[in-house]
Symmetry: C3
Subunit: 152 residues, 3 copies
C-alpha cells in the first residue's frame, strides 16, 4: 500500500537522569520505576525532543516531539509511547498524534498515527522507528519514518 | 469539509493545587514538575471535569471529561491531553476518546478525536479548544467545539 | 455492522499492591492517589498482563497487554486505559493500540482500538470489556472481545 504522505525525521533525546544538565536535557523522569522486574517497569519519562531532517542534533528542528514514554515490561525493555509531533515551519503547520509500543530490542518498531490536525487534518498512518544511535543513557537518536495512509 | 456531527460544550476545571478544597476541586496533580525549564514540564494533572452546554459551571453537566494533561515543554506552556468524554444523558450515551497537544498560548488548539463508542461508535474528528476564561490557578474554562467527520 | 476481524481473549491482572509478590505481580502503582474523593483518583497503575484464549491464568499467553490505567473519577470507580496488545505468535504478529474509559460498575464497557501494526496494519475497532472474575485486590480477569471494523 502506498502512503499519501511520507516524512523521514530524526528524533533526539537527552535524558536528564542520563547525565545531561538542566539546560541541555530534553527529557526527564516523572516517576520512579516500580519494584517489578529489572527493566524499569513503571518509570515514566516526559520529553520535549527536537525532530530534525538529518542526523545532526544541532540542525534546526522541523518539529518538536512532545509527550511521554512509560516502561511497561518486567522481562525486557518495552515502553509505551504517546506523543504529539508539533510542526510550525514554512513547510508544515499542525500536529500528528502518535501512540504505540517501542519493543526496544526489535530492529524496527511501528507506532500508530491516530490523528492529525492543521496540515495533517484527520491523518492516520504508521510511524516506523529505528534506533539510529545510542550513547549510554545520555543520548539516543531514532529515525522516525512516518507514512500516512489516510490524508484528507 | 462538513462535519457529520457537531457538539459545542464548555469544560470547567477547578485545580486542587489552585486553591480549591477537596470537595470542590475537579482536578489534582499526580506528579511534581521536573527541574527542566520553568513551565512545569513533567507535571501530570488528572481531571474529572464537568462539560456543560453553557458557560455556567453550575449548569447540569451533559458529559464528564475524564483523563489527564501532562506539561511537556521546557520553554512554553504546552500540555499533552488524553481523555474520554463520557456521555450519559437522554441526548447521548457513549464515549469519545481524545488526544492532542494544548499549545496554551495559541488562540485555538486542535485535538484529535481518535475513537468513540455507543452513540459515537467508531467516530473520528477534531476537538477545537478555545480558552474562554481563566481565574489564576483556581479555575479555567475551555470552549470545546467537537466536529466529527467520520460517523457510522 | 459486521466486524472484519474478531478476537475474544482474557486479560489477567495481579496487582503488586494487592498482595502479589514481585515475582508474581503483573502490575504496580506508579503514583499515589490524590486526596480527591474516595475512589483512588490520580492513582496510576502500570501493567504487563498476559492475554490468554481461555480463563486459565497459566495458559500460554497469545498476547501481552502493556500500558496503564489511571483512576479518573471522584465519585465512582472509573479508569482511563491506554495500552498496546502485543502479539508475537504463530497466529499473529503485530500490535493493537487501545484507549478508553473503564466504567467499572457497568456490565460492558467499550474501549476504542485506535490503530494497529503488523498483521493489524491500520486497524480500528472496539474492544468490549466484561469483568469475568475478581478476587479482592489480588486478581481480576477481564473478558476482552475485540472487534475490528476497519481492516486493510
Amino acid at each position: 500500500m502506498k502512503p499519501c504522505k511520507q516524512l523521514e525525521l530524526y528524533y533526539h533525546d537527552l535524558l536528564h537522569e542520563g547525565g545531561n544538565d538542566i539546560a541541555n536535557a530534553t527529557s526527564a523522569a516523572a516517576t520512579n520505576a516500580t519494584k517489578l522486574g529489572n527493566f524499569k517497569l513503571g518509570k515514566l519519562i516526559i520529553f520535549d525532543d527536537p525532530m530534525t531532517n538529518d542526523r545532526n542534533l544541532r540542525s534546526p528542528p522541523v518539529a518538536k516531539a512532545q509527550g511521554f514514554y512509560f516502561y511497561t515490561m518486567k522481562t525486557d525493555y518495552i515502553a509505551l509511547f504517546a506523543y504529539t509531533l508539533i510542526f510550525n515551519s514554512t513547510d508544515y503547520r499542525g500536529t500528528l498524534n502518535i501512540m504505540g509500543a517501542d519493543l526496544m530490542n526489535a530492529e524496527t518498531r511501528d507506532f500508530s498515527v491516530v490523528g492529525g490536525t492543521g496540515d495533517f487534518f484527520m491523518a492516520r498512518g504508521i510511524a516506523a522507528i529505528i534506533t539510529d544511535y545510542v550513547l549510554g543513557l545520555e543520548y539516543f537518536r531514532l529515525k522516525m519514518n512516518t507514512k500516512l495512509y489516510e490524508c484528507y
